[in-house]
Subunit: 147 residues, 2 copies
């Protein structure tokens, strides 16, 4: 059984269903290789299947579900909306500059010691996937005091 089949089976065993709407959202996330907003996912579905419409509420519910079963990350990049990405490859974190809105992608291993310490000290299993750390990039720190 492939990883994919095994995953589906495991989800079904827990009472989850693989509906057409959920397949469409997953397919959209696979097509867009970057982080996508809920609206971009909706647009992608419309572009590929003009005759099908998926309710926004369903897209949001599907994304929350995918996040809860650890298949998708949900990240704020300082915009007015969340962005979503399939987990498992190309994992990274984001440094989001509050001055210029720039985003630096960084290696996820920088948070490994924190994850380990939280587990050891508090028994807490942190979910730290595609998170954002806000602050000021090197360039924007220079003019900070005139702001």
């Amino acid at each position: 059984m492939s990883d994919h089949d095994e995953l589906i089976h495991s989800l079904r065993a827990r009472g989850h269903r693989l509906t057409p709407q959920r397949r469409l959202v997953l397919e959209a996330l696979q097509h867009g290789d970057h982080h996508m907003s809920a609206d971009e996912i909706a647009q992608t579905i419309i572009a590929h299947y003009p005759s099908i419409s998926v309710d926004p509420a369903t897209i949001y519910r599907t994304l929350r579900w995918l996040r809860d079963v650890d298949l998708v990350s949900e990240t704020s990049l300082g915009q007015n909306h969340m962005v979503y990405a399939l987990l498992g490859s190309d994992d990274h974190h984001h440094l989001v500059c509050e001055g210029c809105s720039g985003v630096i992608e960084i290696d996820p291993s920088i948070l490994d010691p924190v994850r380990q310490e939280l587990k050891a000290r508090y028994g807490f299993a942190a979910r730290l996937a595609h998170i954002s750390i806000f602050g000021l990039c090197a360039r924007c720190q220079i003019g900070e005091h005139e702001g």
Copy 2:
């Protein structure tokens, strides 16, 4: 000149104004010793000054301003609203359990190495005040696979 006066002066010099509405929001934050939502701040203002009303938009704008000048933290604790707190004393971070919605407050120094590494490696000045780390607490990890 006191720290407070110096702060006010510094803000004024940068074109910021200390309006009655901003004073009221600050006063509300000083009264509530925990994290407060925008609505709790509005209620506090009404309770203390029943004849004065401050528009919700103004409260949100004031909170964003206070956050931008590093006087206040803005944190999601997994609820449907943000919470705000004055910075400077009682600093900590939060472990938010996505199973039981519990919040564990932890010592902020756990992120110091990360902050230092981000500065050294990327020149990035991270703002890591009263942040939330989401995940599962020890108890909620036990029944995870039946979810």
